[in-house]
Homo-oligomer: 361 residues x 2
Amino acid sequence: MHEPLRPDIAAIIAAISPLDTAAIAAARARQEQLTKPAGSLGRLELLAIQIAGITSQEQPVVANKAIVVMAGDHGVTAEGISAYPAEVTPQMVLNFLRGGAAINALAGVVGARVVVVDIGVASPLEHPGLLSRKVAIGTANMAQGPAMTRDQAEEAIAVGIAIADSLARDGVRMVATGEMGIGNTTAASAITAVLTGSSPAEVTGRGTGIDDAQLAHKIAVIERALATNTPNRDDGLDVLAKVGGLEIGGLVGVILGGAAHHMPIVLDGFIAGSAALVAEKLSPQARDYLIAGHISVERGHRVLLDALGLQPLLDLDLRLGEGTGAALAMGIIDGALAAHRQMATFAEAGVSEREESKSNE
Amino acid sequence: MHEPLRPDIAAIIAAISPLDTAAIAAARARQEQLTKPAGSLGRLELLAIQIAGITSQEQPVVANKAIVVMAGDHGVTAEGISAYPAEVTPQMVLNFLRGGAAINALAGVVGARVVVVDIGVASPLEHPGLLSRKVAIGTANMAQGPAMTRDQAEEAIAVGIAIADSLARDGVRMVATGEMGIGNTTAASAITAVLTGSSPAEVTGRGTGIDDAQLAHKIAVIERALATNTPNRDDGLDVLAKVGGLEIGGLVGVILGGAAHHMPIVLDGFIAGSAALVAEKLSPQARDYLIAGHISVERGHRVLLDALGLQPLLDLDLRLGEGTGAALAMGIIDGALAAHRQMATFAEAGVSEREESKSNE
């Protein structure tokens, strides 16, 4: 066994309840009465039913949406595993804050607010729109030792929980997970390898765009990190601390906190998925609150979603992160809930049902 | 060879030009300068570039969007090929006009107007919001003879062209194809079999939800229709007239007219796809204006999209029609264009480019 979690984190996990089966049954019954052949809205029907169970509302409204973008740096960039220099992390954080990034444009289309959090960028960052919650000045190089201490990993999770609390108090009813951190596909691959029992080669991809030789090097670095740190796959916090990242820990907290507040949580890509793997290890119940927004081109993402039993909504060849795939998925979810709430029933519209359903016409 | 097309239809086809290669090049160059790894927005980048070529704008704006829902009845329903009675066609048209259908909810989410057209419903229909453009009182039973005369098929196309003209005059810059017509997956399967050289069994599915025995019967009816009518696969109009439908003809016109007006055309599912097959036969150039909104569970849809060389944007297990998949896809397209227009370039944002791109830092 392993050390107990901090009491505040343990309390949030204890607050994550099973989905509301009565609301699920009511939503399913409603879907069967709406003016369409049963099942013909496919995934949209399943989304509406899942969110009814999450929110305990037969006809859920989640108009108030937020995308939390957690930013942190990675000591493992010293090993040369990324196509971009680490200085891009703070540059992109400022780009988010000035509204110039892809996530700003996509969040605007779906009417979601973007919450930008510095949870561990290695350089000083100031901006009136930034939530400064630095747990450390980037992680340590996991190829040489643990990326974080256990305390730092818990503190990162606590930051995410506090942000979810604050959003819930502000009336936010759906949250998406975004991130920025040069080097973080390396951490996500390491986490995914450990928690899905895969080899690094099976779950490591090209990140922002490295070539074959660089990919082989990235895999070797991850193998070294796992050999050096021997993370315990039965202990999600140990895995997060040893081979994870501060922004990944923050997203674990957003997932746990969001689930405790009965919010649907829309996962973005591979990095967010690795946070979901850790969250699910800490709280298997949290899984039911997750919606996989999309599948990215990072090869480990499919492995991870399969392990979580999640089917992605979108497959658009994205590999940007930031929350971009989750933002697009929010538009699909909005559609699913609008159809669920606004459509007329067969009785209301005076539309005939299937031939075999009719009694004596 | 076959008879020439009506002069008005021929004129519209002549007005469909190749995409603007200069605008495509400018949009592609812009994508490479935006603050993201090159290619990391995947399909979104390709959409922005395609729409730049369609509209001749480096940074296209298509805020004004319409979904044209063409409704028509099918004589072939006398053969018992649908799970629903034909009376559902007018009932659902009234549901669209009262705002109670799935398409109304989904169009609302993406801010598109819904244009409902009676191009051939078999019963009288009146509503202030309805465009009454009845070409015939439903089609004839294609299992016994041609569904339409050649004149009727041309008239249906002309109706669609006139609607595209009118929308363009109203400032609409993107159009989606929707439809309603009990029995119309049978027509779409027949068209797809002929124009892709497939057997009816390969391209016939369960429509609104028939069982195995009913599916075998539906395939047999389509085989009979093809044997009875011997449509000429080199003559799109002959195929449309003999085994198509009035609403399918109307959508052929919307596609041709939309392309002539330099609008991106978002296809919905299998029925809309069969209209695209006919449109492409009449004007191969029109294909470049098409965006496949989604792939439905109807098995012929994949065959048809492959034949057109189109990749669907969404795969959400939909099989409703009405334009629902296209409406959802419009949200993705909005995202693609917002990112393309609003994102900062590397230079504007002061973000470093890839290591190998840098000269002397």
